[in-house]
Structures are given as structure tokens and as C-alpha cells.
Amino acid sequence: FAYFYGRPRWDHGSSMTLTYAFSPTDMIDYISLSEIKTVFKRSFSRWASVIPVNFTEIDDYPSANIKIGFFKGDHGDGQPFDGVLGVLAHAFSPENGRFHLDEDETWAIDFEKVKSKTAIDLESVATHEIGHILGLAHSSIKEAVMYPSLKPRSKKVNLKLDDVEGVQALYGSNPNFKYSSLLAYENSYNKAINL
């Protein structure tokens, strides 16, 4: 795992709650807002399960800690998107909170329903970008959520040991988190793929 320069993190006291909101104007219309919200709720809860940080959705976009939206091309932050594929999304380090997804991608939450060869799994990208929002930079571990690339029509949503150790070094461990359950999951996964 790796951190941004200066190792920035959110510092909101001991029992930390970060709010997030979706842009009222910059969203996509081919996936319902409720489905998008469900996907993000799952992604946030994965990180919340390993660190003592809660994430709460609010309606007031301007006042949210984390601001989520879909944008096309040059959208004013100096990091223009580039159309289909290439760069999929980006997010800023703590405590900025901007979370931008490339509107030009074919976002999918169910590959059975979306047949496009260039479909990108929204949940995988959401989980990755939340890692940036929390202060993790890119990892060199291919299996980690924080690895920089993601192939179309593939999913990578489960945090790996590398992701967990990185974020816990920033925020500490969630008291309910057990390494054994993560290791058991990784072992069963490795066994399943015959490693």
C-alpha cells in the first residue's frame, strides 16, 4: 500500500462520521439513482467495516464531506476525462472529498444486463476511489482494490489484506473487525482459483 505525499487523513475526532452526497445535476440516467445509492452504500460499508469511520449519505451536496458526481471531459478541476475507457474516475486526497466518475464510460452494476464490451463495474471503481478519499494511493499489489487499473467487464470489490493494512495504519482498526475473517476469505478465494 502507499499514501499520498504527507500522509493526509481525515481528522474529525475519535468517533468519525463522514457525510457523502450525490450531485443534484451531474449524474447518469441509465442507472436509477436508487441503484447507484445502493452500490455506493455497499462500497462505503466495506471500508467502514475495517476502520472506525462511519459514512452517512445526506441530501445537501454543498455541505457533504464527500461529493460524488459524473462528469464529461474538462470539468474544471484540471484533470479532464478522456472519453470511453482510458481514465475511468478520479478522487482527491483528504480532506478534499471530490469524487468524480467519467460520464462517458458505460457504467454497469450487472453485467448480465449490460452487454457492452467496454462496460465498467461501478462498484469496483467506487470502492477504489473511496480508498483515495480516505488517503490511500495506488498499490503495486495486483489483487488489491487500490491497484490502479481495472479491465472492462471485471469486478474487484473485496478489500485485500494490503488495502486493510494501509487504511488501518491511517485510522486504526474497527473494533468489530477480525483479521481471521479476512484471511479465511482470502484463503478460500485462493483455493477456489487454485493458487
Binding site: 505525499y5 482510458g86 503495486s140 490502479p148 487499473s149 481495472l150
Partner: protein, 114 residues
């Protein structure tokens, strides 16, 4: 092998992917001069592997020079690829994969890795 009676289905996407096609640089190594390599150098600069040239009117050349070789090695290390310093097929394939727009190295100078 396709036997009589089998049907080949070709799926054609309704979208035009606009991502760079860097396949023509496959197998390039130090000393090569390939037209358009400056675009690949811009990609490396975009993600933090290469700094903007100082003495070349701010333009990258199409030459696979020592500085670019170092950038390729750094990229291969970061992505867990075999470190060859060349644009082998695995490296080209990784470069062309969709990715996050956050820089890999520029902002993580003092990163903690293990």
C-alpha cells in the same frame, strides 16, 4: 477449430473507444525511434513516471532514450510486471488497460510500501 454447423458470433460495440492505441510500440527498447512515441511519453508524464523535458521546448521526442527507459522500469515495478525496461507485450497491455486517473508516483514520493 470451427466445424460445419458452428456459428461464430462477433460482438461489435456501439461505442468507439477513444483510448490510445499503443500497440505499435510493442517490443520497442532503448535506442528505438518510432513516430508518435512522444504521445506515450505524455502518458507516462501524466501518471507521474516522467518529468517534462527542460531543454527541448517542452516537447517530448519520439526517441526511446535512457530517461524513458527509467520511466518504463519504474512503471513495471509499480505494476508488478517483469522488469525488462522494454515495451514488451505485457507492459503495453497494462498501459492500455482502463485505469484510475490519480497519478501513481507524483503524489506518493514518501509512500510507505511493503
Amino acid at each position: 477449430r470451427i466445424t460445419p454447423g458452428q456459428v461464430t458470433v462477433i460482438t461489435i460495440d456501439d461505442q468507439n473507444a477513444t483510448w490510445y492505441n499503443f500497440t505499435r510500440f510493442k517490443d520497442a527498447e532503448k535506442g528505438c525511434h518510432i513516430s508518435g512515441m512522444s504521445e506515450l511519453k505524455k502518458y507516462f508524464q501524466r501518471f507521474g513516471y516522467l518529468s517534462i523535458p527542460n531543454n527541448q521546448n517542452d516537447n517530448f521526442t519520439d526517441v526511446f532514450d535512457a530517461q524513458f527507459e527509467s520511466a518504463v522500469i519504474l512503471y513495471q515495478q509499480k505494476f508488478g510486471l517483469p522488469v525488462t525496461g522494454k515495451l514488451d507485450s505485457e507492459t503495453i497491455s497494462t498501459i492500455m488497460s482502463p485505469r484510475c486517473g490519480v497519478s501513481d508516483t507524483e503524489s506518493t514520493i514518501h509512500a510507505t510500501n511493503h
